[in-house]
Subunit: 144 residues, 2 copies
Amino acid sequence: MKNLLYTGKKIKKTRARTVILEEINKIKSHPTAYEMFKIVKQRLPRVSLGTVYRNLDILSEHGLVLKLKMNDAQMHYDGRTDEHYHIQCVKCGKTEDIPLEMLNNIDTAVQDKTAYRVLYHTISFYGLCTECTEEDVTGKGNKV
Amino acid sequence: MKNLLYTGKKIKKTRARTVILEEINKIKSHPTAYEMFKIVKQRLPRVSLGTVYRNLDILSEHGLVLKLKMNDAQMHYDGRTDEHYHIQCVKCGKTEDIPLEMLNNIDTAVQDKTAYRVLYHTISFYGLCTECTEEDVTGKGNKV
DNA sequence: ACTTTAAACAGGAATCATTCTTAATTATGA
DNA sequence: TCATAATTAAGAATGATTCCTGTTTAAAGT
Ligand SMILES: [Mn+2]
Ligand SMILES: [Mn+2]
Ligand SMILES: [Zn+2]
Ligand SMILES: [Zn+2]
């Protein structure tokens, strides 16, 4: 079994998949599937949006990208795969990483207090980025 | 200005709105708009799903219900309006309250470490409820 | 390199939650 | 009561995501 996208993973290396992974690893942002589609399309002009969706799902199932649900309609994807938290600006929708250590102990705390076997948790912060805090008067901000 | 749903709030008391609020306050679960629609329809047979959506939004904008985004496709609504965290079973989708004190200090911590003005955060736990842990072998569970 | 076969693909249709539009109904209040 | 504004029901529209189908591509063995 050759040509693995990532050694030791049962994931085939295909044209679209490779470009998607390369491109999402180049950026520090948290793009939507459509934003990735526009980026990937520059290298693979015939790629389809469905292919981008499908491969982002496959990559996230194999832990090669993260799939994030924030407070807007679309899913966001993240090339950084170590567990970390995010903040989203409620005005412009920008999503960024949080330099906060993971709170692993809260899973245990919750498991002890409930009848659940706790597998994981997510934390999302919401607030105003610098730009949006400043232009508070102008009202130029987009909605999330 | 009479007929307010809640004293001191600028929110009028209408037939559908009143029933929706009464019914969501009766239950401890975290229904979707459609589940609320089915419940409300028993008292108001001519109510429409759009009215349920609109009023749940209005109620949540006024802080009379919470609107929750968990890891399934629909929004969930919560008649309990004090801040609290939730856990969702990854197998059956059931969503329940967590008896964990709010971590208010993390907002400050994040604000100090980032360029954001932090307004709020959400924490969601995911795991297996007792029923779904037990029937692990049977494979009868629904997907979330 | 050639063949076979399963997986991946493009393009477009379908799905599904949610929002929007509009005309009718209901509440407010002078 | 009459005028006006808000709410509603019904169904259309929207938008993100998934699914379907016929075609192309990659992988594994010759
Ligand atoms: Mn990230
Ligand atoms: Mn709750
Ligand atoms: Zn911003
Ligand atoms: Zn369960």
